[in-house]
């Protein structure tokens, strides 16, 4: 039987604020355990939550970026359950009237484009952490993270493969960083995914029983966990079994998902509106101000690059993966407006490749857009070949304040376009390679490339390759 996969994601985005969502304690990562938990965070008797205005602004920013409805009033509710790292015995979250409802994003897999709708995005507080390391027979509780502001973003079950799920997660990851509401650091847990996965016979419009996979903290784990889970479910169904609704945990070491709890043990969270917090009323004027301050969004830039710069969707997609990268690209283009495609190629190829290799972000790139444009200019005006340009780029990377021209001059890398000089090398190569000359004349095209290579080598890469080609051909035909 043909099976169709149905995936919906719940993504927890840690909001980039200085203090917590309901207290003034700092949210800085990596502090000594419990040093960033104030009276409110540890839930002393009598303390009360006060909403951090910044988290509301961030949620609105997100809602506007995905064309969603901003609910006003929006209501905070208590989700009640007991756990040692949940100091109040309830988590302040939202159930009815979440701050953001609806909206959509566009994802791309291969050359396929697809709109994914969002159900909602709501504000809530994070719990603390339980740790078992270093405590014999005991559990350590660190409440530094307790009360950190989160935006939980819930999608409709519209993704049909792990590739689509990853593409969606990447779009959101890029978007929340783009609009400055999250640092996107997945290792530190700033961006965490849970996946709801089910399968159904292809063509069916009834949803199958789903399993929720928790705690997927990398795109790779997201993909592998879904693939494993889909295979597991299909196996069960094909051998006549049925899926039990469960929460499952992905174990990266063993590359499998396993049961965490099933529906029967699910909590009754006894949600009810939090009487300590007033309904959040959001004036239209505030929304307007936030909208005006919103940067040009990745999707808009993507479309503009295709429309105004004639870039391929593929290139546009890569260049708009991060706002800093897109900015870098546009600054480079500003210096070299005639060579947009060349700029794009170099940034996608050389620059990104090198950054990746060294584990740097684009805003840490030692070569500035101006330096890069200076180098690319020397390719277009024939001063250096593309190959030499890569060497210059390499030097530029090491000594980050030199211009391309300085390096070209200092290393004497200028392309040689003097016909008589190139002709000298051509003649020498032809004389030394009679066999290949004969091969070429007998119709073996490959021999030509080898001859070109030898001329280039002789010029130490500096001969203008176009001229080398022309002169070689001329002499071979003679």
């Amino acid at each position: 039987m043909q099976w169709e996969t149905v995936i919906g994601l719940e993504i927890h985005v840690q909001l980039l604020t200085r203090s917590k969502i309901f207290s003034g304690a700092s949210v800085a990562y990596g502090a000594r355990p419990n040093s960033q938990a104030c009276a409110v965070d540890i839930a002393l008797p009598g303390v009360l939550p006060v909403l951090n205005r910044q988290v509301v602004e961030y949620a609105i920013r997100f809602g506007l970026a995905i064309n969603a409805t901003i609910n006003s009033p929006s209501i905070f509710a208590r989700k009640n359950y007991f756990y040692p790292d949940l100091p109040k015995g309830y988590q302040i979250s939202q159930l009815a009237h979440p701050i953001v409802e609806g909206g959509h994003v566009t994802i791309r897999t291969g050359d396929k484009e697809k709109t994914i709708h969002l159900t909602r995005a709501h504000l809530e507080e994070d719990a603390g952490k339980s740790t078992h390391e270093g405590f014999h027979d005991k559990t350590g509780i660190d409440l530094n993270r307790a009360g950190t502001g989160l935006l939980e973003i819930v999608s409709e079950p519209e993704m049909r493969s792990s590739a689509e799920a990853v593409a969606y997660a990447r779009v959101l990851h890029s978007l929340v960083r783009w609009i400055g509401i999250c640092d996107g650091n997945m290792q530190e847990g700033s961006f965490r995914c849970d996946a709801n996965v089910s399968v159904r016979p292809a063509g069916s419009d009834v949803l199958g029983t789903r399993c929720e996979i928790k705690n997927l903290n990398s795109f790779r784990f997201l993909e592998r966990a879904i693939d494993y889970e889909v295979a597991r479910q299909i196996d069960i169904l094909e051998s006549g079994g049925s899926i039990v609704q469960q929460t499952r945990l992905y174990d990266a070491d063993r590359d499998e998902t396993r049961t965490m709890r099933s529906k029967e043990d699910a909590h009754d969270y006894r949600y009810f509106p939090d009487p300590d917090l007033l309904p959040v009323v959001i004036p239209q004027e505030w929304i307007k101000q936030i909208r005006e301050k919103l940067p040009e969004l990745p999707e808009d830039r993507h479309n503009r690059y295709i429309r105004d710069f004639s870039l391929s969707a593929y290139d546009a997609n890569i260049l708009t993966a991060a706002r800093e990268l897109a900015d870098y690209f546009e600054q480079t283009v500003k210096f070299l407006p005639e060579q947009i495609k060349l700029c794009a190629n170099w940034i996608i190829g050389e620059v990104s490749g090198r950054l990746n290799k060294e584990g740097l972000e684009i805003d840490q790139c030692p070569v500035s857009p101006e330096q890069l444009a200076g180098l690319l200019l020397r390719i277009t005006d024939g001063t250096v070949s593309g190959k030499i340009a890569k060497d210059v780029f390499d030097s530029m990377w090491q000594s980050n304040d030199n211009s391309a021209d300085t390096i070209i001059d200092a290393k004497n890398l200028r392309q040689i376009s003097d016909n008589s000089e190139i002709e000298k090398w051509v003649n020498e190569v032809l004389a030394a390679n009679q066999q290949q000359v004969a091969d070429y004349r007998a119709g073996k095209e490959k021999a030509f490339n080898s001859l070109v290579g030898q001329v280039m080598k002789m010029s130490r890469g500096k001969a203008n390759p176009v001229q080398v080609n022309t002169l070689l051909k001329k002499h071979l035909i003679e």
């Binding site: 540890i42 002393l44 008797p45 009598g46 303390v47 009360l48 007991f82 006894r270 009810f272 300590d276």
Partner: protein, 486 residues
């Protein structure tokens, strides 16, 4: 001295006829002598109190004093006070020393009032008799066989027995007004949101409201001037212009329209309470007030609505008492689940457990709509009733409690009968309206009767005015329990 008003004490202090240290010492000595019998205080800390008194004396000496500087006040043990044992009447917090001050405690501290100690109360403010306290029942100073009412029974007893010139209370469904009535003192629960709840251990957050308990309306006004104010730490605290609650005290009440809800004067009220209340109303007529019958048709639902909503919120508010971070923790447990179960089974008393169970039930999946949501709708209807009534009158009056104080032990095993103690007070709580009780005489066994005054939102000044004019014309509020007059 023991019978002096706050203004009189203030004059004595500012004229240096007595120091705060002396005054405080005198009350502390009285507490030491009488508290073993009355059990009004859970915690005293002479050193801390006298330290504060010395600071107050310094403020007075250096001209930095306010009207209330140097006057002692007793704090209900629901308020967190830095360095003080803060138990909320529960075994669960029997070892909890608060590391911070509630806003109310801080407010009194800032004007130089002296904390005399922490008063006894029903456990987590759940009760109408002070019998649910882990620290044992409080006795009514008018008749030590009787309860003082609850949950602010310790505070009411302390003021009535002259163990303190004034005290703080909190009121969720009647917990200031009912004990004030039963102990023959004055107490006011302001409009919800006027006094900060920060540092006041939560019972039912949407109803809890702190207020002063004292001998007279004038004293209440002075104390309210300190307690009312916006607090950025409490999101439900209201931002309003500062009001002087003493300003209208002396105004004549002629022409005051008093609404008498027919539902409050129907069956249920005992005849002794009824006669005292009628006499008080007659006094108001003499003062020139007029009467109009009003109707609060949904008020009969107030108790059932209250006993859905308050436990619902309480079941969640009390979840933090889990033995993990502070408070009582079971000595032995097999695992996490067991730690929670044993800690809470040992730490909470029966009434608290009963309300947690009710609250958990009404919020449960499948029952939420039928109970919690339905109760919320009725709560709005109850508030609507008052809105309509206040179109016809300025203040609403009636009995605070259907009976005078009952005997200790009398209603312990009958929660429904106990819950009906709040029959007249819980409606105003649900509507968020201000309510107060003043002493208007005595009923059977010479136990005090209170008159309940409900005002429209933010009409505390008008209520205090009406109460003050009554107290100028009568002396019920000045009477001291016979056995305490020594």
């Amino acid at each position: 001295m023991l019978n002096a008003s706050l203004r009189q004490l203030s004059s004595l202090l500012s004229e240096k006829k007595i120091s705060s240290t002396e005054l405080t010492g005198e009350f502390l000595a009285r507490i030491k002598a009488l508290n073993p019998d009355l059990n009004a205080f859970i915690t005293m800390d002479e050193e801390k109190s006298l330290d504060q008194a010395r600071t107050a004396d310094e403020m007075i000496a250096t001209g930095q004093s306010t009207l209330l500087t140097g006057i002692p006040i007793a704090q209900k043990d629901i308020f967190c006070a830095n360095g003080w044992l803060t138990t909320c009447g529960s075994k669960m917090l029997s070892n909890f020393i608060s590391p911070y001050d509630a806003t109310v405690v801080k407010q009194f501290d800032q004007v130089g009032m002296v904390n005399l100690g922490k008063t006894n109360m029903d456990e987590f403010a759940m009760g109408s008799s002070n019998e649910t306290s882990y620290y044992g029942p409080v006795k009514n100073p008018w008749d030590r066989l009787a309860v003082p009412g609850g949950s602010s029974g310790g505070s009411a007893c302390a003021v009535a027995a002259r163990l303190a010139p004034a005290a703080t209370g909190t009121d969720t469904g009647g917990s200031i007004r009912q004990p004030a009535a039963l102990c023959g003192i004055s107490g006011i629960k302001p409009t919800y949101g006027l006094v900060s709840r920060y540092g006041m251990i939560a019972f039912a957050s949407s109803l809890d409201q702190a207020g002063p308990m004292a001998r007279s309306a004038e004293d209440l006004a002075l104390l309210l001037n300190v307690m009312v104010g916006f607090d950025e730490r409490d999101s439900t605290s209201l931002q309003r212009e500062k009001e002087d609650y003493t300003q209208d005290l002396e105004k004549p009440v002629s022409g005051l329209r008093i609404g008498l809800p027919k539902e409050f004067f129907a069956e249920g009220m005992s005849s002794d309470v009824s006669s005292a209340v009628e006499a008080a109303l007659a006094e108001y007529r003499k003062l020139g007030a007029t009467f109009v019958e009003v109707s609060l048709p949904n008020s009969k639902l107030a108790v059932p609505v209250y006993y859905v909503l308050a436990p619902a919120e309480a079941s969640s508010n009390l979840s933090r008492f889990d033995g993990v971070r502070y408070g009582h923790r079971a000595a032995q447990y097999a695992n996490l689940e067991d730690l929670y179960a044993k800690t809470r089974a040992e730490g909470f008393g029966d009434e608290v457990k009963r309300r947690i169970l009710i609250g958990t039930y009404v919020l449960s999946h499948g029952y939420y709509d039928a109970y919690y949501l339905q109760a919320q709708k009725l709560r709005r209807l109850i508030a609507e009733d008052f809105k309509k009534a206040f179109e016809q009158c300025d203040l609403i009056m009636g009995p605070t409690s259907p009976t005078v104080a009952f005997n200790i032990g009398e209603r312990c095993n009958d929660p429904i009968q106990m819950y009906l103690s709040d029959i007249y007070t819980s409606a105003a709580s649900l509507a968020g309206l201000p309510g107060m009780s003043i002493p208007v005489g005595f009923g059977s066994k010479n136990r005090p009767v209170g008159l309940h005054i409900i005002g429209n939102y933010f009409r505390e000044a008008q209520m205090l005015n009406a109460a003050h004019r009554y107290q100028l014309a009568t002396n019920w509020h000045e009477l001291t329990p016979p056995e305490m007059n020594r």
